[in-house]
């Protein structure tokens, strides 16, 4: 269902949603965008490209209380008190959420914290008119205007949005300010989509990578690749598909809370055992784990790679490790 809405009405619409929903939207703090609850809305910042931290944090926060306890009495924090709107996420990140669903909302052991937030959130995505040079979403079957994982997709055509209503959940929130889009407007939207797709220059070949990696566990490739890595873990913290976490107690005496925090396979402590033994003692094993997990183990388990091509790991790596180049070297090396 294709609708349209003027930007002015869109602002009013979002403001009206604030009554019943917590609305998360990209907020600019000193040039860094992040998804935060808003209390007013005056349109999406024209400088918005994508958030620094992926919006997975809306479902899987960087730090999250799981339950509180006092002398053994446990009070779970799994309930979501208010319905949520996630506004303005990019199609790559929406696709990444679908990948995370495999882990947290798969067949075994349902992660209630993630699922409750996910089920109580309506996602309004915003198509990418100007993808960056580091974007490669099209390599994973996505695209700057892909609808996967979205309830509504907005296409910015200037003074208004074309509103592609993807799911019933998306349809439910619409008001009469959303009207039928004209033929011309739809054509313009198509043109904008095509232009954006043409801007994506990096196409990474994923086919065959998994099979090649099957043979590469002992390869010296990992020594070379990890030489440059500082082990800062920014690639995993900012990755919209990375799901590793640590569980810790913050407590005094027998009163406190159990929290989970994002963790990273790039850290030596991640696998260090109490005996002192560490199955991944050096950067080589850790780099191998990161690449293998995304492009071999995850494919084995869920039939798709754990990457959406958002490019954050490329943009933010302090030593310019480029996963596109890594994948190419794996295939051709």
């Amino acid at each position: 269902m294709m609708k349209k809405i003027s930007k002015k009405d869109m602002n009013r619409f979002i403001k009206s949603l604030l009554e019943d929903y917590t609305v998360y939207a990209p907020v600019n703090t000193d040039g860094i965008f992040s998804f935060k609850p808003i209390d007013n809305f005056q349109g999406i910042d024209p400088d918005y490209q994508n958030s620094k931290k992926p919006p997975k944090e809306i479902f899987f926060p960087q730090s999250e209380t799981m339950f509180e306890y006092e002398k053994g009495k446990v009070t779970s924090a799994e309930k979501v008190s208010r319905k949520r709107i996630l506004l303005g996420i990019r199609p790559c990140d929406a696709k990444a959420n679908l990948l995370l669903d495999n882990v947290f909302a798969g067949e075994d052991y349902q992660d209630v914290y993630y699922i409750n937030k996910r089920e109580n959130t309506t996602i309004i995505g915003l198509g990418c008119r100007k993808p960056l040079s580091t974007c490669f979403c099209t390599s994973f079957g996505g695209g700057p205007f892909s609808k996967d994982g979205l309830d509504i997709l907005l296409i910015d055509i200037g003074d208004k949005y074309i509103v592609d209503v993807v799911t019933d959940k998306g349809r439910e929130i619409l008001t009469n300010k959303f009207t039928e889009a004209s033929e011309e407007e739809l054509k313009l939207a198509e043109k904008i989509k095509r232009e954006a797709e043409e801007r994506i220059k990096s196409e990474v070949k994923i086919e065959g990578v998994k099979e090649k990696l099957d043979t590469m566990f002992e390869s010296s490739f990992w020594d070379k690749l990890s030489e440059r890595c500082l082990g800062c873990a920014v690639c995993t913290y900012l990755c919209p598909t990375c799901h590793c976490f640590d569980i810790d107690d913050e407590a005094k005496d027998s009163q406190g809370r159990r929290v989970r925090n994002w963790d990273s396979c790039m850290f030596p402590l991640f696998t260090l055992q109490a005996s002192g033994h560490n199955p991944r003692p050096t950067g080589k094993e850790r780099m191998r784990q990161r690449v293998m997990h995304k492009f071999n183990y995850f494919i084995e388990n869920y039939k798709r790679a754990a990457c959406a091509g958002c490019g954050r790991c490329i943009l933010n790596c302090p030593v310019n490790i480029d996963i596109r180049k890594v994948l190419k070297e794996i295939l051709t090396g």
Partner: protein, 277 residues
Amino acid sequence: MRNPYLPIPVKVKKTFIESEDRMIKTLDLLFLNKEDKENFEFMPGQFCEISVWGKGEAPFGIASSPLEKDSLKFTVNRAGIVTTALHYLKENDELGLRGPLGNSYPIELFKGKSVVIVGGGFAFTTLRALTKYLLAWRKDFKGITIIYGARTPGMLLYKEELKEWERREDLKVYITVDKGDKNWQGLVGFVPTVVEKKAPSPEDAYAVICGPPIMIKFTLPKLLALGFSPERIYTSLEMRMKCGIGKCGRCNIGRFYVCKDGPVFNYAQLEKLPGEY
């Protein structure tokens, strides 16, 4: 939807110092709620996450057999924050428990076959659970052999039970120590050597082996040389774990999570996995 991260309440029934260095302690735990007790069904080889309030959570293999109905047994080597806190617990102290987690020893496969159980040091915990279970259903299995080694006689776990088992006619027990003392009358020597001499015929037999990596490393070739096929040699792996349910991402070996897909694997399975453990 059940929240798999929430511990159920248990309390300490009894504690017992197992080893002469006082670093290994066994805790018998009781469920506080009848319902939790009834719902807690497990098989030997599975583990639990134990919470010490105010300290944190850590994984431990269940050392009691499902047929010991009155309490759950865990044997804890003191090494970090949680294990140290566990050592200081007293009778009636309350703690939290999540589980049972992971898979178990494939007891169905053992039926009608012989089983040799090989253990070293404080890794004998889930092997105790297995032994108790096999003995309770003794007629379902052919020969049962136990080979268990520790550094010194004082470092052996479950000493009273070992003595009982040694007296039984329906199982063979070989206890060995690296170094004896003046009262020690048993075997002296390393586990792999004892396995070589005392393991039963591989025909119609399974081996289950748990111990320090170095013991496993040298015992495995002995079992293979005796004719045990990799499919019939089982072990239980240890990794650093947090969630215990395959989400937090740290205990994987290749595509498998030790917490969820293990901890019990046979050597045919392990041979296909990267040697990253």
